[in-house]
């Protein structure tokens, strides 16, 4: 089991209404989960809980055998660096570092040795040719940036990859190429993927499709 939620409840600060209330939900190793739902329904909150940025108000979030609420903030940061990959909708990279340096920075936090070779291999596999490796990330096209983000997210060979609408800034052609490369890499690394999107046309590519409204009992609005 990669991740499991148990009687999870989460609300922000002093708000009385919870954003999330999930009695039971889990993801198995190697699964690719497509999670959809309208915006504002708590998808990002869920990802932040799974990444250990947020802690549940009550209940348990277990990821890769660790109970998030039992780790210190510092331990969670280190654990996230080592075991979790994250790809956002846009602006995934440190703009003033090159594609290669972005990957190596992630490897630095994840304490992965010999990161240069692995980063180069991933960039190549994701269709970023050598000439682009040393360019500042800000100079790459959005499609290229998203692919570098995947390389960056996978450089530490994480067991879980969280993707938050990574294709919404891409046009159809770029999107399809991106999806193919992403799923290929996830498969090759045997990484579980939780992919959040409201683009339902992508659903067929995943091993499991979930609507957040179905698993979340709280209905924030």
């Amino acid at each position: 089991m990669v991740a499991s939620l148990e009687d999870l409840s989460f609300h922000y600060g002093n708000a009385k209404e919870p954003v999330l209330e999930i009695p039971q939900w889990s993801v198995q190793a190697g699964e690719t989960v497509f999670l959809h739902g309208p915006s504002g329904c708590g998808k990002s909150t869920l990802l932040n809980l799974l990444a250990g940025i947020l802690l549940p108000s009550s209940g348990a979030v277990d990821v890769l055998g660790e109970r998030m609420s039992e780790l210190s903030a510092r331990q969670r940061d280190r654990w996230r660096a080592r075991h979790i990959g994250v790809v956002f909708q846009q602006f995934n990279l440190i703009p003033y570092l090159s594609a290669l340096e972005n990957s190596k920075l992630a490897a630095h936090f994840g304490r992965t040795a010999n990161s240069t070779d692995r980063a180069k291999g991933l960039l190549k596999a994701l269709g970023i040719n050598d000439a682009l490796h040393r360019q500042p990330a800000a100079q790459l096209s959005i499609g290229q940036q998203q692919r570098v983000a995947v390389a960056r997210a996978l450089v530490n060979q994480p067991q879980l990859l969280l993707a938050d609408e990574p294709t919404s800034a891409l046009d159809t052609r770029n999107r399809d190429a991106f999806m193919a490369l992403l799923l290929e890499q996830v498969m090759r690394n045997n990484t579980a993927l939780i992919f959040v999107s409201h683009d339902l046309s992508l659903r067929d590519r995943f091993s499991r499709v979930e609507a957040l409204e179905d698993i979340n009992r709280a209905h924030p609005h």
Partner: protein, 415 residues
């Protein structure tokens, strides 16, 4: 990794970073420059006279005696008799004495009557003797040896004749016109009041005052040089005298002896001690200079903090990415501090280079024009302390944007 990241980050914001860097460089330059000048002023002040164990004059204040005998500032309250001088100079502990006689001037510059011993015993700076740039020490009655400033600003050459004025005003109505002096020597610059002094023999002073006994020239009796007989020229009084001892151990005993001299009220001072007292009086000015330079530095460091704080806002996205790949909020605080440190170290290095460059380029000019001897601005132990304080202050002020980055990192969610 850490420093490389900080450097890349700074490079990506070249414009604002460069301006802040220059502001820090200028303010550190001011700070170091003030330290340098302060240090130089103090040491050149303390170096005005050296190798002299006691200065003896008529009884007055310590500082006053020092001011008129060494700095040629103000007037002697009273003279001392030649007899007392001779009596004290005969003490077996005394190696040598230099009598000096002040009271006349030339175009605003003081004239000092002394003996040729002055040029062999008077020392300044690190025990340096006076040196002649050209010519020779006075030999004849109406020879004069000029300090370097006097020669330069009045444009005198060897062999020129000049007339000394009675009294100290720059426009005296009473000139010793009958007894012109001839320039026989010009001294090298020393950076001390010696540069502003005209040196003549004690006998020369006596000779030109013949006929001036009442303070003004008496009509009908002009002194003709050939009529003067050597025996008449022993001075009756002198202004003060400097003493060199055979052994320093006798200093305090002799000082007490002179201060309690029976026949005339005298005062003996230790020039080093009195110089230090005098410098103490200038501590206010010294401290206000330091305060101003510290405030200039503070202003530039606040500018640095403001620049970094403004950058945190435009770097929120970057902070989210850092958090996603596992950077702790502490890492971001450290990153901002590293940037503050790099700008400060860079600015400090530039400031030190500027200081070395400006002091090297200007030292010749300053020595020539102002008699100011500036050493090349290599960092001293003291300025290193100041630089350390700069770095610590930068890190302290860098906490403001650093904590902003920390808080941003702590509260920002991945999205």
């Amino acid at each position: 990794m850490f420093l490389r990241l900080a450097l890349s980050s700074l490079r990506s914001r070249k414009g604002s970073v460069l301006l802040t860097f220059l502001a820090v460089a200028v303010s550190v330059f001011v700070l170091l420059g003030v330290e340098q000048i302060r240090h130089q002023a103090k040491s050149s002040f303390g170096n005005t006279v050296s190798g002299i164990d006691l200065i003896v004059g008529a009884r007055t204040g310590d500082v006053n005696l020092l001011l008129y005998s060494v700095f040629r500032l103000g007037n002697a309250t009273n003279n001392i008799s030649w007899h007392s001088y001779k009596h004290i100079a005969a003490d077996p502990n005394i190696a040598w004495t230099i009598p000096i006689s002040l009271g006349d001037s030339h175009k605003g510059y003081r004239v000092m009557g002394t003996t040729a011993d002055y040029f062999t015993h008077f020392r300044f700076g690190q025990n340096k003797l006076l040196e002649l740039a050209e010519g020779a020490v006075f030999f004849n009655l109406f020879d004069v040896v000029l300090g370097s400033d006097v020669a330069r600003s009045l444009g005198y050459q060897l062999g020129d004749n000049l007339v000394l004025a009675h009294g100290l005003g720059s426009t005296s109505f009473s000139q010793h016109e009958d007894t012109p002096f001839r320039v026989t020597g010009i001294l090298k610059p020393t950076g001390t009041p010696v540069d502003q002094t005209l040196h003549v023999s004690l006998e020369g002073i006596e000779a030109m005052h013949i006929g001036f006994e009442g303070g003004i020239q008496l009509p009908g009796g002009p002194a003709v040089t050939d009529e003067i007989e050597p025996g008449d020229l022993t001075p009756k009084t002198i202004t003060a005298f400097m003493v060199g001892l055979k052994s320093k151990l006798a200093t305090f005993r002799l000082q007490r002896q002179i201060n309690s001299y029976q026949h005339e009220p005298l005062l003996a001072i230790l020039p080093g001690v009195t110089l230090a007292q005098l410098w103490q009086m200038m501590a206010v000015m010294e401290n206000s200079l330091r305060l101003v330079s510290a405030l200039v530095l503070l202003a530039s460091l606040l500018g640095l903090a403001a620049m970094l704080l403004a950058s945190i806002r435009e770097r929120q996205r970057e902070i989210v990415v850092m958090r996603a790949i596992g950077a702790s909020p502490w890492f971001l605080l450290g990153l901002v501090e590293a940037e503050a440190l790099l700008v400060t170290l860079g600015g400090t290095t530039l400031a030190m280079l500027l200081l070395v460059l400006t002091t090297t380029l200007s030292s010749a000019l300053l020595a020539e024009q102002f008699g100011l001897f500036v050493e090349v601005g290599l960092p001293t132990a003291h300025s290193m302390g100041a630089l350390l304080a700069v770095v610590i202050a930068a890190l302290g002020i860098g906490l403001v944007p650093g904590i902003a980055a920390y808080r941003c990192a702590l509260h920002q969610q991945l999205a």
